[in-house]
């Protein structure tokens, strides 16, 4: 070894030898220096890392731990399912379905324009709108599309755009469309009830939202065993209404066709179960316009049978005559000399049709809907007792339903009556009622003189399935049972041969009253040329099951017996058939429906509600007429209208 070491340098060239003479110590020194430098750097780095480690793990450990936790921790909302609304047979009227809402974090969207282009092709939102939303600086949450269908959500998910997320959100559906829409109301974007029952029962329908606090990874997936808190969502309470979906549809259909046929501005109908007060149908129909034919009102509209008031006209005569009978002022066959006009205060009231002075009984007066005869009876009764009867029947205060926006009506104190008050009020002027209030009057008569508070909510079903039945209201006696029976008998006469012949139903005896009143001009004393036509009644008269009220706003023809009574008959027939009510027992003599048919023939009245091609023909004929208003006068009162500004005629 020593030898070879000694011989090796001699083999090198001289220059190398010269260099090697100095290279040994230099290289060693340089290597040592390099090693020292590296060691120094390593030491510094080690110290730095150690320092950082101490800072991260010891000094700032809590801060970093909390920061990490904040990044991972997420509170996931668990939205409560809103309670459903059913009709009385459990058919769905309103249900909530979980959908997904697509949202985005603009801070994480790299290319808003490209992302918007991709999203716009899937969600039904304008691309420009999406670009604007995705470009919003300073925002960490923007909606892309709310409560989208599952297929849309899947399509968005497939795009896999970073920064786009999904939220579960409930969407309200009304499977039957606009059926009973003003009754049900609607739910807004923030799942709050905005009208009708959705608003009225919002607190119990909504339930209670829950939430869970979990840690999530970068892909927003929950990290196992990291759930920190869970508040379970409580499902909202279901409502079971007294509304019957089938009957509601029948009521709306008949009303829509009649509103269309008569060119009315709208129509209302109500069906009430006499024995329970259950509101089985409440229809609101809007008249035809240039944009659309007559149609059922939408959820944004008022439930007008409860919220809107009108002057009832002749249907109010039932109250005056019932009170007079109950007070013993008159009997059903007490006779009066009835001219065709009467002077009350500074106004002249007339009957609808001129006639010589007649010897009419109370029954005749009601059957012929005589204004003059009714005023004579009311004068005998006196305004205080008349007012007492009006209030006892429920006028001037909201019904027991407590529906949002329900109208109390307008009922003057007798001391505030004008000089014409005792003439106007008994025949349904100077008093304003909702259609349901007026229906309740007939329900009271049908219920043998005892009121039956209306009910719209049959029961509630809580999230655990516990069912709570809403009690049927207890009524109070307004008139004696004999009085109610007598009035019922008189009301059957109205249908048999009076103004309400078109309300007759083959197989059943119907009791009811027509009403035709002038429309009050909003904010001005006096009346317009328009009319409100109504018919309210119940059947079967011998054992009443249902009360039905129909009101048309400004129809042509104007009379309730001509336009509202046929709709009444169609709705009542449906109700009796759906419930399987036995026909009325046959009595001696021709049955009511044959008498009524004969009376209608004599008056040349077509009592059918036009449907299908018959309706199309009527609409086409009206459209072709020069005024576009149909065959009859445009609703102006007949020749025997009373003094201008006084509510005298027509009533019928």
């Amino acid at each position: 070894m020593a030898q070879s070491r000694s011989t090796r340098p001699s083999q090198r060239p001289r220059s190398a030898q010269r260099r090697g003479a100095h290279a040994g110590p230099d290289l060693a020194r340089r290597a040592r220096n390099r090693m020292r430098a590296i060691a120094g750097i390593m030491t510094v780095l080690f110290c730095a890392i150690s320092g950082r480690l101490v800072q991260v793990q010891a000094v700032g450990a809590d801060w970093y731990a909390n920061k990490g936790l904040r990044q991972r921790l997420a509170t996931v909302p668990l939205p409560a399912e809103r309670g459903s609304i059913f009709d009385r047979d459990g058919r769905d009227l309103a249900i909530s379905v979980q959908r997904e809402t697509v949202w985005a974090d603009p801070a994480l969207i790299v290319d808003p324009v490209a992302a918007a282009a991709k999203l716009a092709a899937v969600v039904d939102v304008d691309q420009g709108t999406l670009v604007r939303r995705l470009s919003e600086s300073g925002k960490r949450f923007v909606y892309i599309a709310r409560t989208v269908e599952d297929s849309v959500a899947e399509a968005v998910r497939a795009l896999a755009i970073p920064g786009v997320g999904f939220l579960p959100e409930s969407k309200r559906y009304y499977p039957a469309g606009t059926l009973a829409a003003p009754v049900l109301g609607e739910v807004g974007g923030e799942a709050a009830g905005l009208g009708g029952l959705e608003y009225m029962y919002d607190d119990i329908l909504a339930g209670k939202d829950g939430e869970i606090e979990v840690e999530r990874d970068l892909r927003k997936m929950q990290i196992p065993r990291t759930e920190r808190r869970r508040v379970v969502a409580e499902r909202g309470t279901d409502l079971v209404l007294t509304i019957d979906e089938a009957l509601q549809y029948q009521a709306e259909s008949a009303l829509i066709d009649q509103v269309e046929a008569t060119g009315a501005k709208g129509g209302l109908a109500v069906v009430v179960d006499v024995q329970t007060g259950d509101l089985l149908a409440a229809a609101t129909v809007d008249g035809a316009s240039n944009e659309a034919p007559a149609h059922a009102a939408g959820p944004e509209e008022n439930n007008r049978p409860l919220t809107d008031v009108y002057e009832p006209g002749s249907t109010n005569k039932v109250i005056a005559i019932s009170a007079a009978l109950d007070a013993g002022v008159v009997g059903p066959w007490t006779e009066f000399d009835v001219p065709d006009w009467i002077r009350v205060g500074d106004a002249t009231f007339t009957d609808n049709e001129g006639h010589p002075q007649m010897r009419w009984s109370t029954t005749d007066i009601l059957r012929e809907s005589s204004n003059v005869g009714t005023i004579q009876i009311a004068q005998a009764l006196g305004k205080d007792r008349l007012d007492g009867a009006l209030r006892a029947f429920g006028l001037g205060e909201p019904t027991a339903l407590d529906f949002p926006g329900q109208a109390a009506g307008i009922l003057l104190d007798p001391a505030d009556y004008y000089s014409t008050g005792i003439g106007a009020v008994p025949i349904g002027y100077g008093v304003a009622v909702s259609l349901l209030q007026m229906t309740d009057v007939f329900v009271t008569i049908a219920n043998r003189g005892v009121t039956q508070p209306p009910r719209l909510l049959a029961s509630t079903i809580e999230a655990d399935g516990k069912r709570r039945t809403e009690p049927i209201g207890t009524g109070k006696r307004v008139v004696g049972a004999e009085t109610a029976a007598a009035v019922t008998e008189m009301l059957t006469e109205v249908v048999s041969g009076g103004t309400g012949a078109c309300a007759a139903i083959p197989g059943y005896v119907v009791a009811g009253k027509t009403g035709t009143s002038r429309k009050h001009v909003e904010g001005v004393a006096g009346y317009s040329g328009g009319h409100m036509a109504s018919f309210i009644g119940f059947a079967p008269a011998e054992d009443p099951r249902f009360a039905v009220a129909v009101l048309l706003d400004d129809p042509v023809p104007i009379y309730g017996g001509r336009v509202a009574a046929p709709v009444f008959a169609e709705i009542m027939r449906s109700a009796l058939r759906l419930e399987g009510v036995q026909p009325s027992p046959l009595t001696a003599g021709p049955p009511q429906w044959e008498q009524a048919a004969e009376a209608a023939r004599e008056d040349v009245v077509d009592c059918a509600v036009p449907h299908g091609s018959a309706l199309e023909a009527i609409v086409a004929e009206r459209a072709a007429s020069p005024a576009g208003g149909g065959g009859e006068s445009s609703g102006e009162a007949p020749a025997r209208a009373g003094t201008l500004g006084d509510p005298t005629s027509p009533t019928g």
């Binding site: 459903s84 059913f86 009385r88 047979d89 459990g90 058919r91 769905d92 249900i95 909530s96 379905v97 979980q98 599952d150 579960p168 559906y173 499977p175 039957a176 469309g177 059926l179 929950q222 196992p224 065993r225 279901d238 079971v240 979906e245 089938a246 549809y249 049959a458 079903i461 399935g465 516990k466 069912r467 083959p506 197989g507 027939r573 759906l578 419930e579 399987g580 009510v581 036995q582 026909p583 027992p585 046959l586 059918a608 036009p610 449907h611 299908g612 091609s613 018959a614």
Partner: protein, 152 residues
């Protein structure tokens, strides 16, 4: 000091100590093999238990994690099934609504008659209310809304 005590003292002073005694080269003190074996066994057992415990803990942790994933998957499936149920319920409700039935009938060529005629039945032949065909809440609630309430 007695004579016997003095002899004992002389013997003690002259006797070599155990360490000073020269041990024959082929002899040595036998190690306590049993104690060492027990120690080794205890050590091995301890390590084994520790490793097994560790393994068990890891296995449990893995199982729990897997269970969590399974649970998350089941919750997801349940939510999907719930959404599907709600969707189907909505579909049924929409298809059975009066308007949908009338629309379907119209598509099939049925028309609304201009005039409806009814057969007048005598009282004797009139239907018994208890024979009605229309379902009512009392009769059908359990079938139709089984998941929403047991009693009508």
């Amino acid at each position: 000091m007695s004579a016997s005590a003095a002899r004992r003292a002389v013997r003690t002073a002259t006797a070599p100590s155990a360490t000073e005694r020269v041990r024959p080269p082929h002899l040595r003190s036998a190690p306590d093999l049993g104690r060492r074996r027990r120690l080794r066994a205890a050590l091995v057992a301890g390590v084994t238990v520790a490793v097994a415990s560790l393994f068990l803990m890891v296995a449990c942790s893995v199982l729990i994690a897997q269970g969590q994933f399974e649970r998350a998957r089941l919750v997801e499936r349940q939510e999907a099934a719930q959404r599907r149920y709600e969707g189907l319920r909505l579909d049924v409700a929409e298809r059975s609504s009066p308007d949908a039935i009338v629309s379907a009938a119209t598509r099939l060529g049925m028309i609304v008659p201009d005039q409806v005629d009814y057969v007048e039945a005598s009282v004797a032949a009139s239907p018994d209310p208890s024979d009605r065909t229309a379902t009512t809440l009392d009769e059908s609630w359990g079938e139709v809304k089984a998941s929403l309430g047991s009693e009508p």
